[in-house]
Symmetry: C2
């Protein structure tokens, strides 16, 4: 059997990215021997997820023009990048030749800004579902939404589920199952409150108030979720 | 109400650490306003999780002698550290004054090497359960095992479950629930095979063979799991 061809996975990182958004899909994809992951940014060097945690970008956008797979993480930092030409132009161009273009959490906002979600069903963090129509996308309350080569995942931890789905798409179901076992991904959340539906209105209101303090631009969408 | 006192969380990082092992508990803990996370290592600077992903250690072991919470991640790199005096001595000493001393995945091997698991129930990655008695620990097949102030989590992704448990212990259940909702931790693994019991013997054998290629020292324990 011929060895499968090498696949390049590009993960754009930026100031105030949420680490779990990209480490979640990184771990399963990185387990494939024919996958090479590159962390791209405006310039090479350290990128602060926040004050405590910094990662290394190993390539610039220019150096990685046509990755096979694009994974756009989210986080507080996405808002500042909605009109960032180097990133948005890179996304738009790289998407033309990608096998899969994907996002986790508010990374979908950047796909939207690049025009990639136009006319597609998509998901994002539950707080921002109402924002998707701004990009001509149809919000779907699912953990992972695939529309052809565009795959979007829900908030933060949903990137793990999407990462395993990608592994299955890039190899086969059996390989994806082995990877899930290697990561011992047999989740047992301590509570049953990981989505607005299971958490109920009181916890949703507290979560929104907290998020709005950090991301005032959420206010409008938050109001829609609370149905005030 | 008085503001809760600041808590220092120390996460030792090292070459060939598994990123998800520590990013999993990092995200929920870091959501608490009174938590300050520090990434510690032998020296400050970049630390390679592997060829693709590097993180920044922001403090040396000497600079963080008595953190409130210790989270020891695992990964391929743990084996080389089993007799690493600076790390093991730091762990042993820091454990004397910690509120909680915890591990994810093969991080438990380092707790074991520091004598911290002696006489305690503990867990680790499913591949290494048989190793725990070497450290006078009693292996328990649970996602998260708490024995007083010592908490161990199963493989890789189990750190998220442990992180949320820690949040509940350090604040209260309601806060932990809000954090779970903010991380949209409503996991929906694509397959039901995240543990040896659900995966079955064929997938377990493939996973072990793959792991043994990367970590030959697993061979003995692997054999025990397969009951050859």
């Amino acid at each position: 059997m011929a060895a499968p061809r090498m696949l390049q996975v590009a993960i754009p990182i930026f100031k105030d990215v949420t680490a779990l958004d990209f480490v979640g899909p990184y771990e399963p994809l990185h387990a494939l021997p024919n996958v090479n992951v590159v962390f791209v940014s405006h310039s090479k060097g350290l990128c602060d997820a926040d004050q405590a945690l910094s990662f290394q970008a190993t390539a610039t956008f220019d150096e990685i023009p046509s990755p096979d797979i694009i994974i756009v993480p989210g986080g507080k930092g996405t808002n500042a990048l909605m009109t960032d030409k180097p990133l948005i132009n890179w996304l738009r161009k790289a998407h033309e030749t990608s096998m899969y273009t994907t996002s986790v959490c508010t990374g979908s906002m950047l796909l939207g800004a690049a025009g990639i979600l136009k006319g597609l069903e998509a998901t994002t963090h539950w707080m921002l579902m109402e924002t998707l129509p701004k990009f001509a996308a149809k919000p779907v309350k699912s953990r992972v939404v695939q529309q052809g080569k565009v795959i979007t995942a829900a908030g933060v931890s949903a990137g793990i589920d999407m990462g395993l789905k990608l592994v299955a798409l890039l190899s086969d179901e059996k390989t994806a199952k082995v990877v899930q076992l290697l990561l011992e991904y047999d989740p047992q959340p301590p509570f049953s409150c990981g989505s607005p539906a299971t958490a109920g209105p009181e916890l949703v209101a507290i979560a929104l108030a907290l998020a709005e303090k950090n991301m005032p631009e959420l206010k409008h969408e938050g109001a829609a979720i609370l149905e005030n």
